[in-house]
Symmetry: C2
Subunit: 188 residues, 2 copies
DNA sequence: AAATATCTACCTACTGATAGGTAGATTAGA
DNA sequence: TCTAATCTACCTATCAGTAGGTAGATATTT
C-alpha cells in the first residue's frame, strides 16, 4: 500500500527548506519533517543520514537554483542597474512567495552554531553570488570605470543591503519594505 | 563558599545574550546557561520563569543599551554622514568584540519561530533604531532637502546594509568586510 | 533474488518546566 | 530586644516531551 514515490527525497528537502527559512536550522526536526511528508522519521534518515547532511544538501540545492535563475551575468545586459535589479528581483520572489527569508541568510545568522558542512554551504552562497555580481559589474560600462577594490565594495554593499532588507521587511511583517530597496550604485 | 552575589541575574542575561548572538534563540538552553553561570537550571527559572521571558528581557536590554549608546540624534551633529558613521561604529563594536552579530538581527532571522513576546522585542529594535536615524536625518541640511518618503527609504537602506553587512562579514569570517560598508547616502 | 524504500520499535541525551525544600538575610510586631 | 513571619536565592529530584539516531524486519520493484 505505501507506494514508493521517488519524490519523497525532494519533498523532504522542500519541507526542510521551508522550515529552516521560517525558524532556522535549530528550529526544525526530523520528526516534523517526517510528519509533514507522511513518512516515519527513520525514513528521513534513510535519505539523509544526519541532520547536517540534510541541511547541507538543502543549502546546496538552494544556491544552485538561485544562481541558475540568475543566469550568466555577462549575457543579461550591459547595464549595471539592470544586473542589480535582477538580483533584487530574485530575492523579492523568495520573500513574496511566502514571506520567507533567504535560506542562506537565515543560516548565516546562526552560523557559529551550525555543523561545519552546513556553515560551509551557507558561506558558499555568498561567495558565489558575490562572484556573479562582480563578474557582471566588471563588464558594464559603469563598472569599467571602477577599480577592482571599488567593484568589490559595491558588490558587497548591494548584497548586504538586500539580505538586510529581507531581514527587516520580514521582522516588520511588511514585505513591501523590500521593494523600496532596489540598491543604487554610487559613483566615486 | 558560594558567596551569594546579586549579579546572578545579570550574569544570566549576559551569557544568554552571548549564546543567542552565536547560535540563535533555539541554540541555547537553560542548562547551558546555568552551567556557565555556576547555578542550577531551576535557579535560572527563578529569575526568568520561561525561556521567552529571558529572551524578551535580553532583547529589551540590548535595544535600550544600543539606543543609549547612540545618544540623541539631534545633538550629535548636523552632518548626515556623521550620523550614519555613528550607527556604523556602534554595530562595528558589537562585531569586533567577539565576532558577534547584532542580537536583534539574529532574532529577526528566525522571527517566525519565536515566541510572540520575543519577536515583538526584536521588531522594537528596528522600530526604534529606524526612528533614531530618521529623526537625525531630518535635522541635517542634507535631510532637509528630501521628502519624508525619501528619508524613510534612505534610513531603511542604511539599516539594511549594516545588518546585512554584519551577517555577511561573520559568515565569511572576515570582520574587516564590515569596515568597507560605511553606507553612502545618495542624492536624488 | 537483489535492490530499494519504508516500516516498527527502540535508545540515549537533552528540552523547558515544576514541586518541594532550605539556609540565611530581612522585616514587623510585641 | 526578642521573636515570629516573610523573603531571597538557591537547591535536589523529577516530570513529560522531544531531540537525533539506530537495528532489524517488512514490503515493493526490477
Amino acid at each position: 500500500m505505501p507506494k514508493p514515490h521517488a519524490e519523497t527525497e525532494s519533498r523532504i528537502m522542500d519541507l526542510a527548506e521551508n522550515m529552516i527559512r521560517r525558524n532556522g536550522y535549530n528550529g526544525f526536526s526530523f520528526r516534523e519533517i517526517a510528519a509533514g511528508v507522511g513518512v516515519k522519521s527513520s525514513s528521513v534518515h534513510y535519505y539523509f543520514p544526519t541532520k547536517a547532511d540534510l541541511g547541507a544538501c538543502v543549502a546546496r540545492r538552494y544556491t544552485d537554483r538561485f544562481l541558475d535563475a540568475l543566469g550568466d551575468p555577462e549575457d543579461s545586459s550591459e547595464d549595471a542597474q539592470h544586473l542589480v535589479s535582477k538580483l533584487h528581483g530574485e530575492f523579492a520572489r523568495a520573500l513574496s512567495s511566502d514571506g520567507q527569508m533567504c535560506l542562506c541568510g537565515v543560516l548565516a545568522a546562526e552560523v557559529t552554531g551550525l555543523p561545519e558542512t552546513v556553515a560551509e554551504e551557507a558561506k558558499g552562497f555568498f561567495d558565489r553570488t558575490d562572484a556573479w555580481l562582480q563578474k557582471g559589474l566588471k563588464k558594464t560600462a559603469w563598472g569599467g570605470r571602477l577599480s577592482a577594490e571599488e567593484i568589490e565594495r559595491q558588490s558587497l554593499a548591494v548584497l548586504a543591503q538586500l539580505e538586510g532588507g529581507m531581514l527587516i521587511a520580514r521582522v516588520q511583517d511588511r514585505p513591501a519594505l523590500f521593494d523600496l530597496l532596489k540598491p543604487q550604485l554610487s559613483d566615486k
